[in-house]
Symmetry: C2
Subunit: 211 residues, 2 copies
């Protein structure tokens, strides 16, 4: 059963948007296990070949969906690093929690599964090209908070010796560690405590001869 | 084809040890995909029913293997928190890197897959009982470094306001984040920088009226 391609030469951007919207809807309804790429093509009214050429497996489509969710998270640089990091990481934590619940029905508070976030991690580990796509996605996205930290250091809000990359690993790592490994909550209270502790520490790292 | 149980009433501890050794060997040779529980039973010369009663799926067996690898990592409290954390986290990073490479052949430096660590994360997310086992395992293991941090705070090597749990999330989280998400290296140099930055920060967190 093939789905006819839409007539009238739609720009590929339109088709991509339709595909990703259909994919997100289907993933939300069904969950990762029952998420079939052929059904995405049918819902988006694009030819299966069009979809497969762009995203050869459902894992590739999943990476594109995660990119889309991440791109909705803005990174604002107001000059208050604590505030900006808290807002950013709260949005990341909310996005992770939303992805975690996708397609898992109303399992409620007792459900501590990392859901589709864990599927992304597994797909990245199994398929080198999916791994490259995931690492590329995070490199691109993380450039924004890293720049935020660089700016804070440049204006003296962080000491010169602090590594933005290591500081960001401490922050984002804590969220992913809780989500994927310990199952501990990553709500707003936790993000607040985390940012406070990381920055209170970093901001007072001894650095010689800074007046 | 059944494998006869060994005669002479071996204590179950013996059978468990044989099963886990056989499982580790097979996992190392084959990798997770081709790792079959029936073959583990045959190699360990235990009845399949014995094995399935104890570990119903290969994911349960994987959790037990990870527990075994983790239990090999000692947590020493010498009174030098920076040294003790560096030793501990270097051992954790080495163990993670070893697990990551299990069954992946000689793919070399270019292979950035998280391997069987990602499979563990996915299994924990898919099966509630595996998830409970993984979370229980980490809760048990993490109690040791958390106690290390508590002791450091009690003797004044960390300020009273610092949360051991959040501090540990910053440390362990950074390692898992690099392994599972960004693919950045977690060698001894990185662990050293990470521990240095986290502790230099935490140790100088302002806390009023401490003389």
């Amino acid at each position: 059963m093939t789905t006819p391609a839409r007539r009238g030469r739609p720009r590929s951007g339109d088709a991509d948007g339709r595909i990703l919207r259909a994919a997100q809807d289907l993933l939300t309804e069904r969950g990762y296990d029952k998420f079939a790429i052929d059904e995405v093509a049918a819902r988006a009214t694009v030819a299966k070949t069009t979809l497969y050429r762009r995203w050869p497996t459902k894992d590739h489509l999943l990476v594109a969906l995660v990119a889309r969710i991440q791109d909705e998270v803005e990174v604002a640089d107001t000059g208050d690093i604590r505030h900006d990091l808290t807002v950013y990481l709260t949005a990341v934590a909310t996005g992770l929690d939303r992805m975690r619940r996708v397609g898992r029905g109303a399992a409620g508070e007792a459900d501590r599964s990392a859901g589709v976030v864990a599927e992304l991690v597994a797909a990245a580990a199994r398929h080198p090209d999916v791994g490259d796509a995931v690492r590329g996605l995070f490199a691109r996205r993380n450039a924004l908070p890293l720049r935020l930290l660089d700016h804070a250091r440049e204006r003296g809000a962080l000491p010169p010796g602090v590594s933005s990359e290591v500081l960001f690993d401490q922050l984002a790592g804590a969220l992913y560690y809780r989500l994927l490994i310990t199952g501990a909550p990553i709500g707003a209270d936790y993000v607040d405590e985390l940012v406070g502790q990381v920055l209170a520490g970093a901001a007072t790292t001894p650095h010689p001869e800074r007046t």
